[in-house]
Structures are given as C-alpha cells and as structure tokens.
C-alpha cells in the first residue's frame, strides 16, 4: 500500500463510520482522495466483520452525495460572484458545457461518478450553470449507488486479498469515461462533418 493511501486507511480503522463519512464527504466536495481504495477497503473490512456492509454502503453513498451537493450549491450560489470578483470572463467552454448538461445531464452526472476528479468538476460546473437540483440529486444518487456499491461489493468479495486490487478500479473508471468520451466525440465528429459537407 502506498504512503499516500496508508494514513486514510489508518483513519478509517480508527474512527470507522465517522471516518468513512468524513472521507467520502470531502472526496465528493473537492479533494481528489483515493476513493476507490477507501471504498474497496471498507468492503473488505465488512467481509471480515470489522465493518457492517448494511451501514457502510448508506453512509458512503449519503456522505458522497452530501459532498457533491455542497459543491453544487457553493458553485451555484457563489460561482458567478467569484468570477466577477476575480474579474475573470466566463469561458466559452462553460457555455458549451451548459448546453451539454441541459440535454445530457443524466449520463454526464452518472458516468462521472466513476472517476472522482471528473465527478467533482461536473458537480461544480452543474451548480455554476444552474442545472435543476432535483434532477442533479437523482442522477447523483444512482451514480453513487452503482459506483460505490460495485467497488464496495468487490471489496467484500475479495476480503483479505483486496490489497492486490486497488489500481484496477481506477483504471476501469477511466476506461468507462474513455469509452463514453470516444462515443461522444464520434457523434460530435459525424455531426460536424455533415455540417461541413452541407456548407
């Protein structure tokens, strides 16, 4: 286990569900923490009877959702004001993102739950462009339930051998995002090409 992850695991063992709540909340809010490893470990600890799966899963999902929602609300409430204060002109990609999330909010929020850093970025941008909160919460819930549930279940299944696997899930997460990006880019490319031909 690398030196970056070890303190988080110690914290988890010492403070159990409180630590799980704090770590998943902070990871949802802004910090790029090694979430897959933490969740995988929690699942493994549950298999060993040190944690309860019935408590860990709701705690992790709820805390992560709360973190996501905090990021969303902060960006919604203070995002534009912060840009104004810093005298930063709203980038054109934010306008494009706004158009994108209005039409594909579900898939964007759901898929990015599998890759921590992207999830945080999407939370902030969703709040910034003001997507409907109810829809955001719904897709966030399903995304978190599936992503956290899957990793925790694998941790539970792997038991004491979970330490051989952490990198695998991060890689799988990036592959999912990569597949979606390639499909998205392909669709965009075809549309662009048609437009060029029409012109």
């Amino acid at each position: 286990m690398n030196a970056f992850v070890a303190p988080f695991l110690s914290f988890l063992l010492l403070y159990k569900y409180w630590a799980l709540f704090v770590l998943t909340y902070v990871a949802g809010l802004v910090m790029p923490l090694p979430m897959n490893t933490i969740i995988l470990a929690t699942g493994a600890f549950a298999a060993q009877g040190y944690f309860s799966l019935a408590i860990s899963l709701p705690v992790a999902v709820f805390a992560n959702m709360l973190g996501d929602l905090s990021g969303y609300i902060l960006a919604r409430k203070y995002g534009k004001r912060a840009l104004d204060m810093l005298r930063i002109k709203q980038a054109s990609y934010i306008e494009r993102f706004e158009r994108h999330v209005r039409t594909r909010l579900g898939i964007t929020v759901f898929v990015t739950r599998f890759v921590g850093t992207l999830g945080t970025l999407v939370n902030l941008l969703s709040g910034f462009v003001g997507v409907p909160i109810a829809k955001f919460v719904m897709y966030d819930f399903f995304g978190n339930l599936v992503s956290i549930g899957t990793v925790m279940y694998f941790g539970y299944f792997l038991g004491i051998h979970w330490q051989d696997f952490p990198g695998l899930f991060t890689m799988v997460g990036w592959i999912i995002v990569g597949i979606v990006a390639v499909i998205g880019f392909g669709m965009w490319y075809i549309r662009k090409r048609k437009r060029i031909i029409v012109l």
Partner: protein, 136 residues
C-alpha cells in the same frame, strides 16, 4: 453563417481524425494495462480459483491462515489485526510488552514511532507472533 473554405474543411477534418485516433489509442492502452493486470492476478491463481463463487460472494471469506500474515501492514491498528486473525485482545500486548495506553486503538506505525522501534522490526515481530499463534 460562417463559410468554410475547402482547404479549411480538410484541415478541420484532419485535426478531428488525429484527435479521434489519439483518444482511441489512449483507450486501447488503458484496456491493455487492465488486461495485463488481470493476467497477472490470474497467474496468482486467485481469480480463476474464485470464478465459481461470484454468485455466492456475499458470504464472508474464510478465516485467514498463517501465510496471510504477509498482509499485515504498518497502517493497520492492533485492534484490527486482533480482529482479523482472531487473536485474544491481550495476546499482542503481552507478547510485545506494550504499555501504551492507546492499545489496541493505535496503528503499528504510530506505536513504533512512539516506542522508538524501527517500523519494519515491529512489523516483522507482529507477523511472527500472529503466525505462531495461528500455527499453535
């Protein structure tokens, strides 16, 4: 409406093709890494040995054996090690002559630091005592 000249059209198309190829290359590379990792784990005879039990996986794993003591790490707490290997709570405390009041809710690393013992030495001692307890 913007009018795109034929030279620009070709230029844009070429650029888009290059981006698409690069994205696919990265994706293939990630898939290759994943396959490589999976193959390495299969070689350890772990995945193949478990293939039949995916459906029934929601049953706790069996108790660890003496060979599993290699899994003990310095970030683990004594409490967790005791629980994991089914040790009596006082076993490691007595074996290692621990007088720290935080025991067992202290990590091996923290204890080693406070007791001025090299971390690797303590880890090896803990592994040794756990192993000898399990082989008793």
């Amino acid at each position: 409406m913007n009018v795109v000249s034929p030279a620009n059209k070709k230029h844009i198309e070429l650029l888009l093709k290059i981006i698409a190829v690069l994205m696919l290359a990265v994706l293939f590379f990630l898939c290759f890494l994943l396959a490589q990792r999976y193959a390495a784990l299969q070689k350890l005879d772990y995945i193949s040995g478990r293939r039949t039990s995916w459906i029934t996986a929601l049953h706790p794993n069996g108790p660890p054996t003496a060979s599993d003591t290699r899994l003990i790490q310095s970030w683990m707490t004594f409490d967790y090690v005791n629980h994991l290997f089914g040790l009596p709570p006082q076993y490691l405390k007595d074996s290692l002559y621990i007088s720290d009041s935080r025991y067992p809710r202290v990590t091996l690393e923290e204890y080693a630091e406070d007791a001025h013992i090299p971390g690797a030495t303590l880890l090896a001692e803990v592994q040794g005592f756990v192993s000898s307890f399990l082989t008793k």
